[in-house]
Point group: C2
Chain length 275, copies 2
């Protein structure tokens, strides 16, 4: 890697200031789920605008409400600082397309390289995964009705073998989805790109026998706790509750040093039919 | 209970419209932690303003960023609707005191009584608690340095006996805090009051040997999945990760029918000293 090398994620998540607090970006083909930009990718674009606006390099806690499905193409991000304090800045980003509101983000950002040393405690550990080469690479299959979406050509997912049963009509019955994730072009993960990984895996409940299909995310919250070390991320997603037509998906993401870098939770809609 | 009976929570969380999108409330003594209004109580007031503004009775997913410690006394809530759709409305609430911003809330609200029937799935169960009368009632003790805060006179907490060890210098070492919670005056819980219960318990990490003291919440997200049945709520809080000076606290709240009604997650700051 040289300093002049560019990675695809940096291009497709770039934001350009057009006026104070207003930035534009281009939601790019390939980073989508059947034409709809991946929610994590959309969030990463908004977070980049917020890092730019606040001058804080690391999102610490980020929440996105997805209010209308976005489309590929240009997007405008209006940012607003709620409060800038000594260590943290809280700010919002309203994402619009042709004046239609598609998402609203609130985040508190900081500089994680200046995190104080503190006694740490972990009641969580990386998932017990086979080596990446012994996991199942997820890739689009032409002509297949439920083919993995285009974003899997940009974000390389290698699923724990037992978690691909759903694709063959043999879900194991637990609402879990685990595996390795990395950028296909080798770009190392960083705090600005973690939102992509938090929303790239197939829904957990496919493995609990729910029909394969679109499960729109209403809200996604991500805590980013550490700048990731290089290497593939090991990721564990689990659903604890499906009820009233909604499901939650909890994710834990670990870096190449097996340290926890992020925790995610989203609330999504279970389609009314086919479940 | 008659229809003319009033409950204290309804009084202290009441919001009064002063102009379109602007409401006032009074953060009331007794619902505080040593003079600072309880974060869940502050959030409940904002959520009440949002339910009022949107006409949707139930908060479904709510996130609050606490940007400055609030004080007891008058508070102003400015609401703004991001998008009103068929089933959900997303809106924001900015909470200020004397023009200083203290909190920012974004929520998606709905009508949970119209939730579609869907196949449900639960990988979580109520905590295994002794009967309320066999748990330890938390109450302020005059003159005690680390006395339970005033809000415990309004929200009755009965902790699992093994989880009160921290108060006697004998924490069990696990970052857990479990018990029963109810309003002291007998008001039944509802979706508008659940934020109070999500933030009323002592921090989990007191039981992992962290020093007893103030751990300011940066952000709290609450998913409310069901209108609670009457009776005390059984609540389980757990921390999975303390690192870089932050801790997350996850909560699961179950109603009198032993059904999950809410899931919470907050990010808080570990004090730099005394840990």
């Amino acid at each position: 890697m040289t300093t002049t090398e560019t990675w695809e994620f940096d291009d497709v998540s770039a934001v350009h200031t057009v006026s104070p607090g207003v930035r534009r970006a281009e939601l790019t083909e390939g980073w989508d789920m059947g034409g709809v930009p991946n929610g994590g990718y959309l969030l990463a674009v908004a977070v980049r605008a917020l890092a730019d606006e606040t001058g804080r390099p690391d999102p610490l806690t980020v929440t996105c409400h997805y209010v209308t499905p976005a489309r590929l193409g240009p997007v405008e991000i209006q940012t607003s600082v709620i409060r800038a304090a000594h260590r943290h800045t809280t700010a919002t980003a309203l994402v619009t397309q042709d004046d239609a509101r598609v998402a609203f983000v609130v985040a508190t950002l900081t500089d994680l390289s200046r995190a104080p040393a503190s006694r740490s405690f972990a009641a969580l550990a990386p998932p017990d995964l086979p080596a990446p080469e012994d996991c199942i690479l997820v890739q689009p299959v032409e002509g297949l009705a439920n083919s993995p979406p285009p974003i899997t050509t940009k974000v390389e997912l290698r699923l724990r073998p037992e978690d691909v049963g759903f694709a063959f009509g043999e879900p194991h019955g637990r609402a879990e989805m685990m595996g390795w994730a990395s950028f296909a072009d080798g770009r190392p993960p960083d705090t600005l790109s973690l939102p992509v990984f938090a929303d790239a895996f197939p829904p957990t409940v496919f493995n609990a026998g729910y029909a394969i299909g679109w499960m729109p995310t209403l809200e996604l919250t991500l805590h980013i706790r550490k700048r990731p070390a290089p290497g593939p991320l090991s990721c564990a997603f689990k659903t604890n509750l499906v009820s009233g037509g909604y499901l939650e998906i909890d994710g834990n993401i670990f870096d190449g040093n097996k340290e926890a870098v992020a925790m995610s939770r989203q609330l999504a809609v279970v389609p009314r039919t086919r479940t």
